[in-house]
Each structure stands twice: as structure tokens, then as C-alpha cells.
Amino acid sequence: MLLEVEGLCVNYGHIEAIRNISFGVAEGEVTTLIGANGAGKTTTLKTISGLRKVREGKIVFDGKDITRLAPYDRVKLGISQSPEGRGCFPGMTVRENLDMGAYVRTDRKTPAYREDVERVFQLFPRLEERVNQTAGTMSGGEQQMLAIGRALMARPRLVLLDEPSMGLAPRLIQQIFTIISEINQQGTTVLLVEQNAAQALRRAHQAHVLETGEIVRSGTGEELSGDPSVRAAYLGGDV
């Protein structure tokens, strides 16, 4: 397993946001966490990135315990994230945002770096058209592309994607999920958090269902798509 979460508990003040969850993310795969609003999906990702304090349990990345590691050291190890709500830097241009994604890299002037920028532009041609536009003036879909592209600029081994389809037009949602599969096929491990369970399960190798801070079901994407209770709760009944 590239990432292992073991018995993780996280509190917001006195409220338990996550209770004793355990799961793994295998290298080269797409793993997804699905669940309703407030189930603890975003908190899980923030905790993996080091933005939330762990009350109990541990997080192991590539065999190394990172439970107490500073957020910037986790990025250096190869974990990057496209956060919920995109989190683009509104006053920076597309190019500056991409440069921020590569903040921990030291090879800014090398061909390898330019290749990575090219790769992001290939995935999202729209970003190349808008390279000098400030992020704050772009549409939600464009900002989502930028957030994912920016996360890739760190050359992550594991990329965490938080609700990449939120607030997007249906056609764009399809496109974003296709690109997520493409990113995975190019060799990046993906941990995907989604409310759009149908799409997420179709793309995922492994899937876990979160309910009020606990994992209630796990399986392959296919298994969970076929599970009657998952279908009833997250896929809109017998579709």
C-alpha cells in the first residue's frame, strides 16, 4: 500500500469528525471515498495533507509514519491535493498558480519542469489559452481544471482530489472524470472524494463508503456499484 490510514480519529473541537477509520490506497490505483455531506470525507483528505490534527491513529505513506509531519514535508514526500472549492489563488495568473503547485520543486528552470507544464496543458488545453488570466476571473470549471493541474505540478506520487465535480455542468463532469482516469493511467495514484458516487465508483479500483465519520462499506468500485444499500443511498435507487 502506498498510503495506509489506521484507526484514524479527528475532532473538530469536541465533535468527532472522523471515528476510527482505516483504509489503504494501493500504488497505481484509483481509490474513492464516497458519502453524503458531512460524512467526514473532506476532513479525511485534510488530515492526510496535515491540515488537521490527528487525535488517534496513524497515517503511513510509503512505509513512513507521517502522522505528525508538517504539511510542507508531506508535499515534498509526494502527496499533493486539489482541495474542495478549488482553492486557486485568485490574484495569481494561471501560470503563477501552476508555479505555486511546484513550490517545493527545485528544478524550475529545467526541461523536465517545462514538460510537466506541457503535460498539464495537454490535459487541460483551456488552461493554455488562459495562461495569463488571473484565476479569480475564471469560471468554476476552469478553476477546477487549474486546481487539478496545479496539484499535478508537484509531481505527486499520490494526488488527493476533493469533489472535483462539484458545481460543474454535466458535460464538464464527464470530461473531468475522463481526465482523472488519464492521470491515473499516466502513473499517478489517486485518492478521490466524491458526492457523485456513480461516476466515482465507475472509475475507482477500490471504494469506501463513509457515513457520519465511519467507514460502513468497502469493496471494489464494481462491487459497491452493485450493492443494493449503496445503490439505494447514493445512486438514486434502482437506476
Partner: protein, 333 residues
């Protein structure tokens, strides 16, 4: 009201106003940058400036002794540069100390902003009073005789022993622009240009902007925000130190409470220009300096501060976010 006086001396009032405004602007940068990343007004920043003015004067005392002398800018250039560097380093050190002692422990505990504000006010009083009792501090260590040139009469006005005589260079209208005016305005603009390039072009500069625009995203990019906060205080300190040196060049005297009014003015300049915005601080500072000078010509010098703050209120009534300010949460720094 003396509008005729204003029009007769418009060039003189404008140029000396610009020189004063450039000093306000340099100090305003410290307020605006710290606000940009922490959404906090660092009320101790005025003392950062005040320590710089003393460091500047002390260099002259150290090299020259206390016998007053009067020299031109050209013949003291080496000493001036040395004193400028000393002022910048001293101010930077004080700024870093404030960050370490008055802010970081609170930020680590996620204390409310109001607590940090009180802490900053406390730091401001402490630093100012510490300068005011420096003779007593020296006495504790038995150094009051050795250091008497630096510490005696600690609460009085402290003057740079070397008075810089401005030399007229060229005439605009009926005002002869002096080398001191040019150095003050030129140096302030050069510092601000350097800062603008630093913030826009370097990795740490981008880090500062990232923390200002979205602190949580910045962490996800691998920005070490503690380090960025430190660098921001450091830069604010360097700029305030440069302002202190230019102030001493122009005014020549300081005091343990010299930071107060200047700090309030610089803070006003920062708000006027749009707090959190670097170019706003420059614009706000220059505008404040000039308008204040014009105002005191028209209404009398006693009205100088009234003019400054009426200007602030008028502009905030029309543009609550300041001249170049954007709504909070939008583009900053």
C-alpha cells in the same frame, strides 16, 4: 485660510510632502504586508521604526562622538550608508523579535485575532518604554558611564550629532530642490521597487502572496507558513529601518515615542491605499504626505493631523476598501 500661500509655495509643499509621504509609505508597507498574511494590525510596528531611528543616530555618535557638527550630504556618504544598514538591521531584528514573542505563540494556539492585537499593543508599550528607561537598564549592568553618550536622559529628544546640510540642486517654480529631498524620495522609491520585484518574481515572494490569498491552499502547495510569516516581518522591518534612516536624514532627531504619531500616519496611509495592497501603501503614503502639507499651508500647521484624518474618513466613505483595495478574500498582496 491661506489659499494664496498654498499656491505661492505649491512646488515646495508638494516636494517636501512627497519626501514625508515616501517615509510614511515605507513604514506603511510593514503594516500592509503583515495584514495581508495574518489579517492583523501589527501595532508594535511603530516601535520597529523607532528603534531604527536610534540605531541610525548611534552610528553617528559612535564614529563622531557627541560634538555637534554640520556637514553636507556628500562628505558623509559612507557614514550614511553604514547608519542606513545599521537602522535596517536593527529594525529587522526588532520586527523578528515581535513576531517570535508577541505573535507566534498565540498563532500556534489559534488564539482569536483580538488577543493578538492586545499582545501587539503590549509589545509596542514595552519596546517604547524600554527605550525610555535605557539609562536605567545600562545602570543595572554598571555601564551608565561607558554608554552615557547613548543612554543618558533617556526620555528626552535624542539628536544625531551631525546635522546634514541640504544642498540646493535645481529650481522648480520658486523652490530649490535639495539633494536630501532627492535622496529621500529616490531611496524610498528604489526600496519599494525592489520589494515589488521580490514579491512578484521570487519563490518566497510567491509564497507570501499565496499565504495572503489562501492560507490553506498555500499549505497544500508545500509553503512553510511559519517561515513566510517570519520573512514578512523581516521585510517589514527592513523597510521600516530604511524609513527610519531617511527620517533621521530629514528631521535629525528622535525620541522613545517618535514611532507613535508616525506609526499612526503610516497605518492611515496603508488603509487609505487599501490595506493588504503594496502599491496601495505607496499611493496612500505619498498622497497623505502631500495633502497633509497642503492642508497645513491652508489651515495652519496645527491642523496638519486633522487634515490627514479627515482625508482618511472622506476616502473611506466613498471607497470603504481604500483606493486600491479589493474586497476581502479577493486578490491581495
Amino acid at each position: 485660510m491661506h489659499f494664496d500661500f498654498l499656491f505661492q509655495h505649491i512646488f515646495e509643499l508638494t516636494i517636501t510632502g512627497l519626501a514625508l509621504g515616501a517615509i510614511y509609505a515605507l513604514v506603511a508597507l510593514g503594516y500592509t504586508m503583515v495584514y495581508g498574511i495574518l489579517q492583523l494590525i501589527n501595532f508594535a510596528h511603530s516601535e520597529v521604526f523607532m528603534f531604527g531611528t536610534f540605531a541610525f543616530a548611534w552610528v553617528f555618535v559612535f564614529i563622531h562622538g557627541t560634538t555637534s557638527a554640520s556637514q553636507g550630504l556628500g562628505s558623509t556618504i559612507g557614514l550614511l550608508i553604514l547608519a542606513l544598514v545599521a537602522a535596517m538591521l536593527t529594525s529587522a531584528a526588532v520586527a523578528l523579535l515581535i513576531e517570535r514573542v508577541a505573535y507566534r505563540p498565540l498563532l500556534k494556539k489559534d488564539a482569536p485575532k483580538l488577543i493578538a492585537l492586545i499582545s501587539a499593543i503590549g509589545a509596542s508599550f514595552t519596546l517604547s518604554e524600554l527605550m525610555g528607561v535605557r539609562d536605567k537598564v545600562a545602570a543595572w549592568f554598571g555601564l551608565e558611564d561607558n554608554l552615557s553618550n547613548y543612554v543618558s536622559n533617556a526620555r528626552d529628544i535624542y539628536a544625531n550629532p551631525v546635522t546634514i546640510n541640504p544642498k540646493g540642486l535645481f529650481t522648480i517654480g520658486d523652490y530649490t530642490v535639495t539633494d536630501v529631498d532627492l535622496v529621500v524620495i529616490g531611496a524610498a522609491l528604489a526600496m519599494m521597487l525592489a520589494l515589488d520585484i521580490f514579491v512578484r518574481r521570487t519563490r518566497f515572494g510567491r509564497g507570501i502572496r499565496a499565504v495572503a490569498q489562501d492560507p490553506e491552499s498555500a499549505l497544500l502547495m508545500g509553503v512553510n507558513s511559519t517561515r513566510i510569516i517570519q520573512i514578512t516581518f523581516l521585510i517589514g522591518g527592513l523597510m521600516a529601518g530604511a524609513a527610519a534612516a531617511l527620517y533621521m536624514l530629514k528631521i535629525g532627531t528622535t525620541r522613545q515615542n517618535a514611532g507613535f504619531i508616525l506609526g499612526v500616519k503610516a497605518f492611515t496611509a496603508a488603509v487609505l491605499g487599501g490595506i493588504g495592497n503594496l502599491r496601495g501603501a505607496l499611493l496612500g503614503g505619498l498622497l497623505l504626505g502631500v495633502v497633509e502639507n497642503w492642508g497645513s499651508a491652508v489651515f495652519g500647521t496645527q491642523w496638519k493631523d486633522v487634515v490627514a484624518f479627515v482625508l482618511l474618513v472622506l476616502i473611506l466613505l466613498v471607497r470603504p476598501s481604500g483606493l486600491l483595495g479589493e474586497a476581502l478574500g479577493k486578490a491581495r498582496a
